[in-house]
């Protein structure tokens, strides 16, 4: 058992608030030979400056930048050290300072976190956050080898050179502990890949059924093909700035709160601890869970949950004043690299209690339209299509998720997903049965960026500020 010292639980107190005023992205593809990496970054950068209805001209906005935070997951995929310098130069931002940020799958979220602190501290009034990944230079199975180097080199990597094999035991244990029906995991794949059908940015949209998912090939048992995200190429970007600048740049600024957490690289090394409670939870809520865990030799967070996600949410909710997540949040983007990580996250972020994640999904609250009632779901998740359906160009992912939440809060889902020209830009045709996934008048949204088997996680709360 380990415990936190009071000092470790200090809630971050920024010197000044941080705003997000623009988002930009490329589409995402498994292979993208048409463009070089820096050319893809330019696509995201131009959308950022030119298409967010900013009140200054693109080059005037560019003239406000003080600093750039870049997200890139893996040097070995790009086979280029200091890729940040190449991109920075290509975007015409020299000699402004830039830093590269790297925390595995949470790289994009960490770039947002670090970007936010540059504004919160006064270091910068206007910070560019931009991330990318190019995973198509190597064959998929070598890509899997590269990603599996995110497992422990001395004690784990040789036991599985495909990262799904590190999530699969968690899925197995979660299933055993909470009696999860595999159809629930399959439903998550169906939902998120289905939402991807409405996004011009999406890499693997699909109208699948639960039966399709369950009939798929096993990648690492029990995870099947459609339950796992794919190698991805693309770039996403955001502008973070001070309050004063936010109102100069847009009539629809969004306030950003973001915090992080981390936990062991090796799942089995996680020591048991008491659950850090979110504002709406009490010890009594988990009395039965602790008792049940004891019976099954379980431990929190164990293999079932992510301590880093809970820690990040613990901080971010207190920063943002989120009291009851299911009531205070109107949409959420989870890091659904695998169906199981989506399911696990609902307990970590307190949309439901630990142990009831399965019930939360079957309740229909995580859908745009609750399949039981046809009415809007209470807190739809991964309307972007998520990692399963739309993208996981790793260094871009956490930024892309914040961008999708940002556009939702601005009421611009249709502008960025429904314009036929946006589809033709990426060589696609807008589907005849396209429908809007705009949430009705959302006020607050959440984005979770997640690495390893939960080694690094950021939790961003975005809030409408006009």
């Amino acid at each position: 058992m380990i415990s936190f010292a009071p000092g470790n639980l200090r809630v971050p107190k920024w010197t000044r608030p941080v705003y997000m005023v623009a988002a930009g992205t490329t589409d995402f593809r498994k292979r993208y030979p048409e463009k070089k990496l820096e050319e893809l970054c330019m696509m995201a950068f131009r959308m950022l400056l030119e298409e967010n209805d900013l009140k200054l001209d693109p080059l005037e906005v560019k003239g406000l930048f003080n600093l750039a935070c870049y997200g890139e997951f893996a040097d070995h995929f790009q086979d280029q050290l200091l890729c940040e310098a190449k991109v920075h130069d290509y975007l015409g931002l020299d000699p402004l300072p830039n830093v590269g940020i790297k925390t595995g799958g949470a790289t994009g979220g960490s770039a947002m976190l670090m970007g936010a602190t540059t504004v919160a501290s006064g270091m910068s009034d206007c910070t560019l956050v931009l991330g990318w990944e190019r995973m198509d230079e190597v064959k998929t199975w070598t890509g899997n080898y590269y990603i599996a180097t995110a497992a422990c080199k001395d004690f784990e990597t040789r036991l599985g050179r495909i990262y799904a094999s590190y999530y699969a035991p968690m899925a197995r244990r979660f299933q055993e502990m909470y009696g999860v029906d595999e159809r629930v995991r399959a439903a998550i794949a169906v939902k998120n890949r289905g939402y991807a059908c409405h996004s011009p940015f999406s890499q693997q949209p699909g109208r699948h059924t639960i039966e399709d998912v369950l009939a798929g090939n096993i990648v690492s048992d029990p995870l099947r093909f459609l339950e796992c995200c794919a190698m991805s190429v693309g770039s996403s970007a955001a502008i973070l700035c001070s309050e004063e600048l936010a109102h100069t740049l847009t009539d629809h600024p969004v306030k950003l709160y973001i915090a992080g957490g981390s936990h062991t690289l090796r799942t089995g090394d996680r020591r048991p601890m008491r659950i850090p409670l979110l504002p709406h939870e009490t010890e009594e809520d988990y009395r039965q869970l602790y008792a049940d865990m004891e019976k099954q030799d379980g431990r929190w967070p164990g293999f079932e949950s992510f301590g880093a996600t809970r820690f990040a949410a613990y901080m971010a909710y207190r920063m943002a004043g989120v009291q009851v997540p299911i009531e205070d949040l109107d949409l959420v983007e989870t890091h659904d690299a695998f169906t199981i990580s989506d399911l696990q996250t609902y307990g970590d972020v307190g949309l439901t209690l630990y142990g009831r994640e399965q019930d939360y999904v079957t309740s229909g609250d995580c859908y745009h339209a609750n399949p039981h009632t046809g009415r809007p779901g209470q807190c739809p998740s991964n309307l972007s299509g998520g990692l399963l359906g739309t993208m996981h160009a790793v260094g871009a992912t956490g930024i892309f998720q914040c961008g999708e939440v940002f556009w939702q809060l601005q009421g611009k889902y249709d502008k960025f997903h429904g314009e036929p020209a946006m589809w033709t830009r990426f060589g696609k045709t807008k589907p005849a049965d396209w429908s809007s996934l705009q949430v009705e008048d959302p006020r607050r949204g959440l984005a979770i960026s997640h690495a390893g088997v939960g080694s690094h996680v950021t939790c961003a709360v975005l809030e409408k500020a006009w």
């Binding site: 001395d154 599985g160 030799d297």
Partner: protein
């Protein structure tokens, strides 16, 4: 497909540098090899090659968590994360336990040395605090809770890597 899982690689090349082992991790031929040290954890890998499973525990009476009788860590650590003092080695005798979690790997990435398919297992070993990731020699269907015992690749069979520890079902 044989009943038992095999390795498709031979032994890794090891260089002794004083007390520690430096293992070769070839990327692209001899010129592209990484020389990776096991550092203070070398006794663990030497132990495997001798058929012994060694963990570490904190015996510092001033440690806020272990208080002189810390739990056994496996994988081992040279230093205690709670008090930062050196840990001491301790052998797990006749290591056995049960399957805490598992997956059946149908296909691994480039460079995988274990013949697919195989069970990657997380084992709760009696007397060990952490849960150890390893692989199972058997391909028979398994479930959480199944009893297993540790096996070792020793002598000429030793790979000098974490693959020297594996498990088999206890009949």
């Amino acid at each position: 497909m044989a009943d038992k899982v095999k390795l498709v690689s031979g032994p890794s090349t090891i260089h002794a540098r004083g007390d520690v082992w430096v293992v070769e991790l070839p990327r692209f031929g001899p010129e592209g090899t990484h020389y990776h040290t096991y550092g203070l954890l070398t006794p663990y890998f030497k132990g495997l090659a001798d058929g012994r499973l060694l963990g570490t525990r904190c015996t510092n009476t001033g440690c806020p968590i272990g208080r002189g009788a810390g739990e056994l860590w496996l994988p081992p650590r040279a230093d205690c994360p709670d008090c930062h003092q050196p840990m001491v080695w301790d052998e797990v005798k006749a290591p056995a336990g049960y399957i805490y979690a598992y997956t059946y790997v149908e296909r691994g990435g480039t460079g995988l040395e274990i013949e697919c398919p195989y069970y990657q297992i997380d084992v709760k070993i009696e007397g060990v605090y952490t849960i150890v990731k390893s692989y199972l020699a058997d391909r028979a269907p398994i479930k959480i809770g199944d009893r297993v015992r540790a096996k070792f690749r020793t002598g000429a069979e030793a790979t000098h890597t974490a693959l020297d520890l594996y498990f088999e079902l206890t009949q």
